[in-house]
């Protein structure tokens, strides 16, 4: 015997879900409820969202199809989006590790401009190993890595300088000044 579907009531609609879709929807609604913690009226919003899910899934069912699967549910949830509480500042959104530690060049730890130091810090690589690897690539690629390095110099923003830290060494300092000049000149984003 095999259970094929679960029938759920979503606000004013009734929907049949297969097991995977049921688990996924349960997770979405639980996430929404936890995002709405602190909202004075979470029940109403959750009911609205349930109705939205039911409407979106029903619209996506093929003629003759009665059971909602992940194929209908995932795009439906994608379209509905996760709950955004009005007035919450963007910084209050759940922070990912990369948001806590953005991909930036680190002038203080730089040999040239800080690209390796920044990549190492962001991805948790050993910076010395990364530099040896980069030099190897430089020798093997016949200089192509220079272009890659320069592109990264241009694209990766510089981490703010440590307040009261030691002055930058000559090359990292020049790189930083030059890149900031280029970005202003060509109106490139810096962070």
């Amino acid at each position: 015997m095999q259970r094929l579907s679960t029938t759920v009531r979503l606000n004013r609609s009734v929907l049949q879900l297969d097991d995977a879709a049921y688990v996924r929807l349960e997770r979405y609604l639980a996430e929404s409820a936890s995002l709405l913690e602190g909202d004075p009226d979470p029940q109403e919003i959750l009911a609205d969202l349930e109705q939205a899910v039911a409407d979106q899934c029903t619209r996506r069912l093929q003629p003759g199809q009665s059971v909602v699967t992940l194929a209908e549910l995932e795009p439906a949830l994608e379209e509905i989006g996760s709950v955004q509480v009005p007035g919450a500042s963007p910084s209050a959104e759940p922070s990912t590790p990369s948001a806590a530690r953005p991909l930036q060049q680190v002038s203080e730890a730089a040999v040239i401009s800080g690209v390796c130091a920044g990549l190492g810090r962001y991805f948790g690589f050993n910076v010395t190993a990364l530099r040896v690897f980069a030099v190897l690539l430089l020798l093997l690629s016949g200089g192509g890595v220079v272009l890659v390095y320069f592109t990264l110099m241009l694209l990766m923003p510089y981490a703010p300088l440590e307040a009261g830290g030691p002055p930058l060494r000559w090359l990292p300092g020049k790189c930083r000044t030059f890149m900031e000049y280029l970005r202003t000149k060509f109106n490139l984003a810096t962070n």
Binding site: N11, R12, S13, S32, L36, D39, P40, D41, E44, I45, D48, L49, Q51, A52, D55, T58, E79, I80, G81, S82, V83, Q84, V85, P86, G87, S89, P90, A189, T190, N191
Partner: protein, 107 residues
Amino acid sequence: MAAESKLAPIRKGLLEFLVLKIVGAKSMYVPDILRRLAGTEFSTQEGTLYPLLSKLRREDLVQYEWKESDAGPPRKYYRLTDSGQAQLTALDEYWNLINRTIADIGH
């Protein structure tokens, strides 16, 4: 990227104004409101709009009524309350004022 990170909070703050404007013109249910915003800078999703409408209702700026639909369950149609209408007028005036200031300043 730098400009984008500054524009996002502006859009976020203005969304409420736009929603008031939309339901001020005509009572609408959420998919209509989303369609009206789709393709503009303010394109948004149900996950954003329902919490916002719930807040606006608590602030007595909008209210809804249930209307039967041809297909599926009844729908919530949102419209402005009197105080919502007053706030929309005030926001509209303030917005025009800001626009003039921005256009004039620096010349």
